[in-house]
């Protein structure tokens, strides 16, 4: 397993750059991963990230429809926050595994 240094912390990542241990995640790490994805994180981004981490920790299957119904943002807003990968990029920045859902 590869390790990568974000914000001065060594974290375990898989070959697609997803953290393999969500517990290693911090907001500073999120900022640096987001920068790699070309995204500057705002409070709104962090609300989505916290929601995703919360759902993941409960074992829920993550979908963009779920995020759209979370009350944080609608689906269009989610695409605007994470262009080109509403669920894929947000999950990577949230330090959770790549989503396995098709929707």
């Amino acid at each position: 397993m590869a390790t990568k240094t974000y914000a001065g912390i060594n974290v375990d990542v898989n070959d697609e750059g997803y953290l393999t241990n969500p517990a290693q995640w911090t907001k500073e790490i999120a900022q640096e991963i987001a920068r790699e994805e070309g995204i500057n994180l705002t409070d709104k981004h962090f609300q989505v990230l916290e929601y995703l981490r919360d759902q993941y920790s409960k074992g829920s299957v993550l979908t963009i429809r779920g995020v759209g119904k979370s009350g944080i943002t609608d689906i269009k807003g989610l695409y605007e926050l994470f262009p080109g990968g509403p669920l894929k990029k947000s999950s990577r920045i949230a330090g959770i595994p790549k989503p396995t859902s098709c929707v």
Binding site: V61, T63, I64, R65, G68, I75, K76, Y79, G84, V103
Partner: protein
């Protein structure tokens, strides 16, 4: 693998020509999956596929229960085609299909189109089929950008890394 990285799919143009639940959803799931991956997506509805973008019909699609050899009863036993002719069976099977998809967060057709449009997907209707079914523009759902010819569809589908998929 190297091949895949060198030539990513950048755009898909999907043609949905049939109006059963599974035919329409197969196309919608591929379209939504494309926009979620950042792939540009155009959807072209033609013939009975137009039901999916016709306001009065789009959330009332059915699954064919007659002459469908892959059909199974709950539990996995074969589904006798003759059962399919009993009134209410088609509606019951269709309701069950929709329920099971909703359990996986696959929404009703109009909401699914909302999701695809929110991600930048574009919805078009086929002019020939639209004329043939004597539809009016106001019959179509608001997701539809335009009613277009086949020639226009090919123009929209053009580009490097673009794929045309007939479902």
């Amino acid at each position: 693998m190297a091949e895949k990285i060198d030539h990513p799919v950048k755009k898909v143009a999907l043609i949905i020509a049939k109006g059963s639940i599974e035919d329409v959803y197969a196309g919608l799931i591929m379209a939504n999956g494309a926009v979620m991956e950042g792939i540009e997506c155009k959807l072209f509805f033609t013939f009975f596929g137009l039901d999916a973008i016709t306001k009065k019909r789009q959330n009332k699609l059915k699954t064919g229960v007659v002459g469908n050899p892959a059909m199974r009863m709950p539990g996995g036993l074969p589904f006798p085609t003759l059962l399919g002719i009993i009134p209410g069976v088609e509606a019951g099977v269709s309701a069950m299909m929709k329920k099971q998809m909703l359990d996986l967060d696959v929404p009703p057709v109009d909401e699914f189109l909302d999701m695809i449009v929110a991600g930048g997907g574009e919805i078009y209707a086929c002019k020939l089929a639209f004329d043939m079914f004597k539809l009016k523009r106001e019959d179509l759902s608001d997701h539809v950008i335009d009613v277009i010819t086949v020639g226009r569809f090919y123009e929209l589908a053009a580009g490097e890394g673009s794929q045309i998929i007939f479902t």
